[in-house]
Subunit: 388 residues, 4 copies
């Protein structure tokens, strides 16, 4: 291609690394973009593993030190796929080095870290260095379309949001302890990992922020076998049993700043539900229902239909007129999970080309972090109301 | 029939009166019971209307004074279908008159009234006078079957209950003010009317009680046009506008006494959802999902199925081996709403014949009332935790 | 009641008898009709069984000879619920006796019998004696509403009908041989029993008739154990094994007279499908989908919705503006199977009062019979096309 | 990578070309294969368009003559994505040149062409040159899993197959005439384009072939506006109106050689159905249902479950133990349409490495062609039965 090409350097190569790689490989072949990308380098601490990941996922080089990776001349974009405790340090350093940054969610493990990142991002944006937090569910076409419906006034005044993110991968008490169950690495459990997604998605689709919450958390299995493992189960290593120091589930309700009430439920213990990221909205003019396990569908109730004709419409969000779909297959041919990332990178590259700030910003990531912190705070103080 | 026949006297003849009438007319023709019933008398204040209701619904006599009705020699069972503010007085008087009592839910408008009713019921049960609160959703075959699955250990240790009761009949702000929106008549709004159902159903299916809650309520439309009307819209009368003095929606979470967490959401503002009484349970051994809009189906995930064969089963709860179904149609032929009451009356009559206490008892109704009161109390005090 | 009351005499008391009884008991209490009914007498050959059925189902008298039953002065309506081989004789005699007749489907076991019945019905209608064939699925509110949508032009020019009626009650080869599997009693198997329903429903909803068909039938299990039994399994009696002389399944396609093609599939061997009477229609302006296992729902695709908003709407056919629903419960409260008969009887009584011919007529029943005969004929001659 | 790399040369670059490209780009990064691929050259007649396609889709070179493309030294695999009238010539030439061939379906436009291809393929396989027809739906994980269930005896003796492929992209009569509606280019309409898929899928999942059929075809819109266009609407060019010379819809039924009956329906006129490739199977031991619009789900009824626990299980076919899934994302994260091709290429490359014949073979493609020809023949002769 003759168009400009930006090199990407990605840190981390587990589950998120694999998904991001597939999206980076794909974005320029599906979307007709003004700027191209090159999979320049992948970073990770284990030299053998990172080299294997580079080969497998199509990265030109491998680095064992993330500092070396962000310093590379052929890296213009740094993509952070590591556990949350490392986000702030890497992101701030990369921005300081003049690299655009995409950072996986949650933005950080603490509000303090998130504040430092958002602050750096705001400063650096002023000099044209861009950043984005990777809330990929915003790029599910059905949810992007839901946002368009809401913005267009199709559900009217908001009354209710009902959100849930249900998984079941920890229901077996013999599932090993990994970094995702350790507070010092992951910050929190279901709260930061998946409640973060539904908080962001709800705020995105509604177009408003939560102003206060009341919450409760629970750890059903208090200790688990230690394990070496990798990927989703990359544990601290060693044998024996370790304490689970994060929540298995979090439930909370809240209010939106401009009106409307909301409930949230995030769990890794909903036996039979695999990745059921669900969102319902009800307003004076209509209703919307979504379940990621059927990610190509949006249920839409148009309140202005006559009573006898009204019903939730199962809209297959695969029409050329739907968000992101013009570039894809004919109607009725489903897209998959990974393309939420392909779309995210598309939007990021378009923003870079246009010189605008990609969305969601680190400030948006910080706001979600504040909500999660408020939930934790409420849960620790008898579920009393906490302002965000 | 040569079998003993008990006369029923029903107070109230609006929506619930119509449904109860259909169930009383049906119960002896579908189920082979040791005792029969006769629709002896119906009571209501308006002499013309109550006579018309008697004719329409098949009652032998009409009374305009409930005290006269409960005194009738041909009335052995008093069935109370009036607004909540009258339950205590009628029920206590009927029990004192030695009549068996079925009382619509919620048992009463206040905990105090409910205490008096439960106390009277306990005393009278000792002398063979029986009473039951009409939580009809326990008699949905799918939920009765869900209870059996749980009791049989099929979902293992409970982790989650997720319940919701979503309607949308008040989303239009021009819908008239009726007694159901007036605190002095109805006690509360969505809370007592429909949250009561999901609290009872959740506790019934789980086989445990809630030990504490945190909640929030909301009234989206603060005043509504006054109206005469009848049935669901039987208002205080007059013209102009009146204040809505109850909640339009209530959301809360809680903990079960023996473990497991739960969320509840009840609303009359979920645009597009008509009568979506929903219940989900997840435990160490399986999961269950139910939606009353598809009342003949239970979704059951059997956690002991091999991973690759596992999935929520859409069980059509219409087999002869399912609760109540032996008396009905062949598999795949749906039952309707009214038969939750037919089943309730069947169980009531069987208990009378066996000389046992029907379930749910007034004490069970009182316990639900305590949960609702705890939710209100939490909602009034910054959503802080309140023990039940 | 002061209104006129017509006595009903019902012949047969197995599955259909039980359902009809419940509908007769209910129709006047739910619908406000100009004419009432009385359950005057029930007929059956076994004196003990018919007396028990009378008691159980609420009939005032029992007769062991159907001729005596139709002669009774207190019987104005004869309701025929017996196997198909007896329909013609009873119906023609009842009409001759000046009694209105409702006859279960299929109208008869042969076209010849059906011709004689339709002929008698036409003659007797001229002197005010009315008749109807009981294709109850026309009275499913969702299908009546589908008919209204089609009649209103909402699906435009018809292109496709796709119909199926799937059950699985014979998949077990040890299920006993009953009259439903004997040609001399039932006329045919899945063809007359359930294909008859989807042929009638398709023609009713479309508003046109099939002009020709090509078909195939199959008997998967050629012989079955004999059995006494009753109800659905009322067999010829005796021990040993008997031949199945009817089809277990029938598949066929055809053309509508005014255009559009159709496929049909009826089987008692669709393992897992209990009573899945399904109908799909597609036209230039929209699409419709229905499954009786979810009888309260109609899926409607409105072709004039914008592409990105289009989707099959799950219409809960429980609004007061839907057919038959004004008399029932609030939105979202499901109706059950039996009420397709309650609606049928309502329409029959209204027609009697108005002095019009009820629908579907015996002539309609004859037309369905001609379609079934054409399918049989095609199946017997190498599946070649047969005009109806 | 150090592993062997085979160059791919692809002919055609419209819809199928785009999908195949994405799959070729992906297969080696997701699956750990013994052999790699390189996107060597893409072929097409228009030099500007083919160069643009090469750039967009990541092909190293472009050729305007397919003969030149198959002769290239860097091309070891020829992937044919052109209309059906060109398949035979290209495929036979490529095989003769010693290149492995993947050919899009239907294998050819006539049985004669398909015979020549199958013959060449058999000859060339003897010398290690491999070929495959691209029935990609076999590689939907849910259908591959369905095949495994059937092969494992889980549905027992087959009674029924009910298949349909419903689209609606031609329901608008102003949709332009393209090669897909011209007999000389496409061979047939819905029959060869989409009925071919359900015939192959049904035979694949059942593990048997159809022995005879009876069919009917229909062209609802006989002429359409001519258009230049491209991709799915690449027409013959010019203005005015042209005749549609293929079927818009085809319906047929048939018998499997080893028992069981089947119905098929393929249409481009099912308003509201976008790409609903559906398959149902019922046997003595269970039932299976599938709809490609929900491609990550398989509905499975296990006939050996107790009656009251039985129900169609919605199996999310995203477990690591499901076909192809070990290489992908965690449970509950959907795959998309394109990966049916990624899986196809994976299997093809594994077969090349192992020196075995990939499946489905050209002989399999020929067998499907014979079924389609029998349907056409039946449709032309009064729908009489035609042996395959």
């Amino acid at each position: 291609m003759s168009k400009a090409e930006l090199g990407v350097g990605m840190v981390g190569y587990a589950f998120m690394g694999a998904v991001h790689s597939q999206a980076w490989r794909t974005v320029n072949h599906v979307f007709d973009l003004p700027v191209g990308v090159r999979l320049a380098a992948i970073g990770g601490r284990d030299p053998v593993a990172v080299k294997a990941a580079a080969d497998r996922h199509g990265w030109a080089a491998a680095e064992t030190d993330w500092r070396a990776l962000i310093e590379r001349d052929d890296v213009a974009i740094v993509d952070i796929c590591t556990p949350g405790d490392t986000h702030a340090e890497i992101a701030v350093a990369a921005l300081a080095a003049g690299k655009h940054v995409i950072c996986e969610k949650p933005l950080a493990n603490t509000v303090e870290e998130a504040v430092s990142m958002a602050s750096a991002a705001a400063d650096d944006a002023a000099r044209g260095v861009r950043s984005m937090v990777a809330f990929n569910y915003r790029r599910v076409p059905a949810l992007a379309y839901a946002r368009a419906l809401v913005a267009d006034g199709r559900i009217g005044t908001l009354h209710h949001v009902r959100a849930a993110y249900q998984q079941d991968w920890l229901v077996d008490p013999s599932a090993p302890l990994t970094w995702r169950m350790q507070k010092e690495r992951a910050g929190s459990g279901a709260l930061g990992d998946i409640a973060a997604h539904i908080v962001d998605a709800a705020q995105f689709v509604v177009g408003d922020v939560l102003s206060g919450v009341s919450g409760m958390t629970e750890t059903f299995v208090k200790s688990r076998p230690l394990s070496g493992g990798s990927g989703l189960s990359a544990a601290a290593g060693g044998a024996g049993v370790g304490d689970v120091t994060v929540d298995d589930a979090a439930v909370f309700f809240g209010r939106f700043a401009q009106g409307g009430i909301a409930t949230f439920e995030a769990t890794r213990f909903a036996t039979g539900r695999k990745n059921a990221m669900q969102l319902e909205l009800y307003g004076s003019g209509g209703g919307i229902r979504f379940d990621f396990e059927r990610m190509n569908e949006l249920q839409f109730f148009n309140g202005s239909d006559p009573d006898e004709e009204g019903g939730f419409r199962r809209v297959l969000v695969t029409e050329a007129s739907h968000p992101y779909l013009e570039a894809w297959w004919p109607p009725g041919h489903p897209l998959g999970y990974e393309h939420t990332f392909t779309h995210e990178f598309r939007d990021f590259l378009v923003a870079l080309d246009e010189g605008t700030d990609p969305s969601p910003s680190f400030a948006d990531g910080l706001q979600v972090q504040r909500v999660l912190a408020a939930v934790s705070s409420s849960a620790e103080s008898n579920s009393g109301w906490v302002e965000v």
